[in-house]
Amino acid sequence: MGRPALPEFELSGREQGEAAARLPRTWQRFHPLSPVVRMGPSLSGLVLVLAAAAALPGQTGISTSDLVVLGVIALTGVVSWAVTRWRVDGDTLRVESGLIRRQSLQVPLSRAQAVDLVEPLLARVLGLAEVRVRTGGASRGDARLCYLRRSDAVQVRAALLAVAHGLHEAVPAPPEERLVVVPNRRLIAAGCLTGVIPVSLGALVALGVLGWTEPAVLVAGGSGMFVTFVTMSLAAWRRISMEWSFTVAEAPDGLRIRSGLLGRAAETVPRGRIQAVRMVEPLWFRPLGWCRLELHLAGGVKGGNRHQSGSLRRALLPVGSLTDAELLLGRVLPDRRAELTRPPRRAMLRAPLSYHFLRAGVGDYCAVAVSGRIRRETVWVPLAKAQSLRAAQGPIQRSLGLASVHLDAAGQRTRATFLDRAAPEAVQLLDRLPGRCAAARNSAKRPVPTTGTTAGNVKSTTAGKAQEDLLAAGDQPPPGA
């Protein structure tokens, strides 16, 4: 399909076929170079700062106290590596760390939601990789094996996966089917389209108009524009480097998303964690037939209310054609049929701009809502994931006989909104949706065999439950499939 040949990385199932992985039954240390990867970036940053300070006029050079600080930091790294060890005990992964404050993390592998491979830049240079066992819940519960030799890491990952699914550890990881590869050229084009170019063009035009009347503006505006341009380019660069060689594959335990230019990560998204799917089509994507897909996943929210499990957004397709999107959507939401209807014409008075795309509907499996004028957004919320249902009617809506209904899923702003529906229809939705959501929940509890699933629908609970025991009862129910 004219896709450029991409460097393969971590194609499990083929790469580690020959040697059966052995999980350590006795305590093991990580790779001796681990402290270098862990402390390397911060240490080199510190060295740079100190060197810069020493190079300043009036300084005599690097003082001994600086060297002591550096030495202590390096030593901490080495010590923390030396006291960290791991082993597998039955189906439990144990990681012990800490010299003074000894920490012991135990992850029952049957509860692992995903086993991912993460390779930061420095680790890649040294041929190392991290195996991260995700347990759902907060990221504190994740067991991180950092770092192992890359080839070992691939084998350990496969073995952990096998154990997690109750198989013998020598069983190779299930093969995965590659679904979509995002061409890097398109990624760059999209990165430029979304960020830098429209803004800088707009700024240029504004500057030209202003500069015509007031030449003094040119200098101030020019420098301001330069700063904006640099920051926006940096943001675009970060995004592109993060989403470089974006590959989505399907494995029995979920979707595997790989990406990264410098540091790389292979992440597995279990299907049960998907709370909602969003398709965004900005104005300048639409003529090209491009779109962006995002997943809202259940998981801990950094910072936010610790009591609440929320969701995080993860790109499923940074930029892709509608056929790619269609393919992925089909895998994520097997049944997303819904009869989309427009709100009544009088809603145009309430939402003159966005009425153009405004549509919503409910199917057997999920609710769909389309909104936005410049950025068209389509949201699918599986009925089984609905957390609550809300209706609101403001004064304008009341005089027009309209009302909005929101179907909330877990997370900050994860919802499908039936904006400006006719009041009787809203009442009907409020009447019927709770029952349909409950029915969807009940049928989702039964494991549904999906294509190619051997040990699919990995049920799991928070492994770090002991840590969360302070929370109220029923606070962290097991995330069902």
């Binding site: 964690r273 709370q275 259940a298 936010g304 009591h307 609440q308 499990s309 929320g310 969701s311 994931k385 609905a386 957390q387 609550s388 249902l389 809300r390 209706a391 609101a392 009617q393 403001g394 004064p395 009341r398 929101h406 909330d408 899923a409 877990a410 997370g411 900050q412 702003r413 994860t414 919802r415 409020l430 949706l433 709770p434 959501c437 409950a438 929940r441 509890k445 929370l471 109220a472 009862a473 029923g474 606070d475 962290q476 129910p477 097991p478 995330p479 069902g480």
Partner: protein, 141 residues
């Protein structure tokens, strides 16, 4: 009726203002101040009581319905199985009047299920009820 506390507070403030202005200016002005405050308080009382009456909740078999709002009418439906935890809070003023606020939390941040101004006993009963129902029907995320 619990919400009428706002009106009462306004009245108390008015009396205070009147006393102060009587000492400072004179009887006539004080009477005007009292009258003005009375009118405002009555209007406020009207608004407050309408707002109070708009609040309502209904415990159904599988979910809790919460209705509120005068200008913007809102209705929330929260299935018991989706509740993560239930909060009961009582501030200083609330404690003075023996009332409490019950708040339901689901994994969705947008879920806005708040029940202010419940009698303390009713709040406790509701909390127990919701917690037990939530446990019985826990549906995960």
């Amino acid at each position: 009726m619990r919400r009428a506390e706002v009106g009462l507070a306004a009245l108390g403030l008015g009396v205070l203002g009147a006393v102060v202005s009587e000492i400072e200016v004179g009887l006539g002005v004080a009477a005007a101040v009292v009258g003005g405050v009375l009118v405002v308080a009555m209007l406020a009382e009207g608004f407050v009581s309408r707002r109070y009456r708009s609040w309502g909740y209904l415990e159904r078999d599988d979910d809790l319905l919460i209705r509120r709002g005068v200008l913007i009418k809102r209705l929330s439906v929260v299935p018991y199985g989706r509740m993560q935890f239930v909060d009961v809070t009582a501030g200083l003023v609330e404690r003075l009047f023996g009332i409490a606020t019950v708040r339901l939390h689901t994994a969705a941040a947008a879920t806005d299920a708040r029940l202010p101004g419940l009698a303390v006993l009713e709040a406790a009963r509701l909390r127990e009820q919701l917690t037990s129902l939530g446990e019985a029907r826990a549906a995960g995320i």
